[in-house]
């Protein structure tokens, strides 16, 4: 390979990376400003909460119940190797509320809502609707972005709380129906073991995931270009970006929340 070409490619990639970081930084600043400062579009926030939160309930609920059920089987099988099957309720509940509830619910919302945000904003961008909005003196950050980010950040903790309950119930069903656990003991073990700190740490994660998911969806949609292909690319990038952001931030937050 021509060494000059090699350095040209490296240079172009570096510039692209810095350009992307710069664009994302400006986007985050504008978004946070639009969330905090007026004008506020309360109706849009409510509509987005309904669309992103309420409408995601079936898919999040289904994911949670099957996750809880499968997790119960896995924990039982694994803990039987060192005669610790009785700890199933405790291990299952803490796994769900701290890790799996927030993680799976966020991934489901990323697949469902982040992609939809990117597609919708992308279509608006390529059909000049966002420019039209600006010419009508309506700031798209206030009207389009802030409601989506605010709604997802507020809705995800609620979704995760519901997913936690359904996930634990899924484990309960498996434990009582297939693994011969006594229902009252199962619940009592969870009540005695699970702390508010476990639940709250999961809900904090959920809020951060919600912010990141909506940010990815809005960022890639808002900056999409190049017609239908560009909108498709924005949708893909939003889902991939959301998933990476969920996993990366999960590690950082877990380290932090365990240490405090």
């Amino acid at each position: 390979m021509n060494p000059v070409l090699f350095f040209q490619i490296i240079g172009a990639l570096t510039l692209d990376a810095f350009r992307g970081i710069g664009m994302l930084s400006v986007f985050i600043t504008n978004t946070v400003g639009a969330v905090l400062l007026p004008p506020y579009y309360g109706g849009n926030v409510m509509a987005m909460m309904l669309r992103i939160g309420f409408n995601s309930l079936p898919v999040v609920g289904l994911t949670a119940i099957f996750t809880g059920a499968a997790l119960a089987l896995n924990i039982y099988d694994g803990s039987a190797r060192f005669n610790a099957e009785t700890f199933l309720p405790q291990i299952l509940s803490v796994s769900i509320v701290r890790e799996l509830g927030p993680g799976f619910a966020a991934l489901m919302v990323a697949g469902r809502a982040s992609s939809a945000m990117a597609a919708e904003l992308g279509a608006m961008r390529v059909s000049d609707q966002i420019d039209a909005m600006r010419t009508l003196s309506v700031n798209p950050y206030h009207y389009l972005i802030a409601p989506r980010v605010l709604a997802t950040t507020l809705a995800l903790p609620v979704l995760v709380f519901i997913a936690d309950v359904i996930g634990i119930y899924g484990g309960y069903l498996t434990a009582t129906l297939a693994l011969n656990f006594e229902g009252a003991t199962y619940i009592a073990n969870i009540e005695n073991f699970l702390t508010a700190r476990d639940v709250i740490s999961g809900l904090i994660k959920a809020a951060v995931f919600g912010f990141l998911i909506s940010l990815m969806g809005c960022f890639f949609g808002y900056h999409s270009a190049g017609g239908a292909r560009g909108v498709g690319a924005a949708t893909r990038a939003a889902v991939v970006g959301s998933a990476v952001a969920i996993f990366a931030s999960n590690y950082v937050m877990t380290s932090f929340l365990i240490s405090v």
Partner: protein
């Protein structure tokens, strides 16, 4: 009729996208009450020029003034206020597909700045008034943009552009994609509305019939520069070989169009 005071003035405007210099020093003036049409082949920078004036794209160099105020050196609030005088009809109408037609028309009245906002009832009345001005019944107001034909969408776009009673109207390819009869209806509406409002107008188009109908003055852009400017009545006798080639739609001539990218 136009008077001498310039509503919008563009001087030595430059804009580059990567290595592609789209505008190479464009000068353009729009007098109060004047209707200017910018023509030119695809890729000559017409839309970019419009977007620079609207503030949707930042120019690299040059000066854009509205009412004599340089947009670069003035504060953001003043700049926004000056730009609020401009109503725009976009090429594809750019209607917001998630809200009904009347909310599209009254969008700025419902969601704009504090000084623009009115009650929902007043906004709806104004929307229906504007729909009537472009020949649409109030019944259309309840429909979604997707339920409308291309011509009706353009009419709604025009109604939205005039809803805030702007002093300047911009038309981006107002008749593209329309059949000749609908295109003529839109052209007639544009001429009527601009005259009735006493507004100034800048339009960009490839459609010469449209240009001749709505323009007081025509400006031709080629490769990012103004190559001819004159009264619409003189377009056919411009004496400029590039204008002649464009007007007569000939492939042979000083304007070389590449068929391959």
């Amino acid at each position: 009729m136009a008077n001498e005071a310039l509503k919008i003035s563009v001087r030595d405007l430059h804009k580059r996208f990567g290595s592609n210099e789209v505008l190479k020093g464009v000068d353009l003036g729009l007098a109060n009450g004047e209707s200017v049409v910018v023509i030119g082949a695809s890729g000559t920078g017409k839309s970019v020029l419009l977007r620079c004036i609207l503030g949707l794209v930042a120019a690299d160099k040059g000066e854009i003034s509205i009412d004599g105020v340089d947009m670069k050196s003035t504060g953001r609030a003043k700049r926004e206020k000056l730009r609020r005088q401009i109503g725009v009809l976009f090429q594809g109408a750019a209607l917001f597909d998630s809200v009904p037609v009347w909310e599209n028309v009254a969008f700025a009245l419902l969601n704009g700045t504090k000084s623009q906002r009115t009650s929902r009832k007043d906004a709806r009345e104004r929307a229906e008034e504007c729909l009537a001005l472009v020949g649409l019944s109030p019944r259309v107001g309840a429909l979604l943009p997707a339920d409308l034909s291309g011509g009706m969408q353009k009419r709604v776009g025009l109604a939205r552009a005039i809803a805030a009673d702007p002093a300047v109207l911009f038309f981006d390819e107002p008749t593209t994609g329309l059949d000749p009869i609908t295109a003529d209806v839109i052209n007639t509406l544009i001429v009527e509305r601009v005259k009735a409002m006493g507004a100034s107008a800048i339009s960009i188009t490839h459609d010469l019939a449209s240009a001749k109908k709505i323009a007081d003055r025509i400006v031709m852009l080629h490769e990012g520069r103004v190559i001819w400017s004159g009264p619409a009545t003189e377009l056919d006798q411009s004496g400029n070989p590039m204008v002649d080639q464009f007007v007569n739609g000939r492939a042979d001539g000083p304007i070389k169009m590449s068929l391959r990218a």
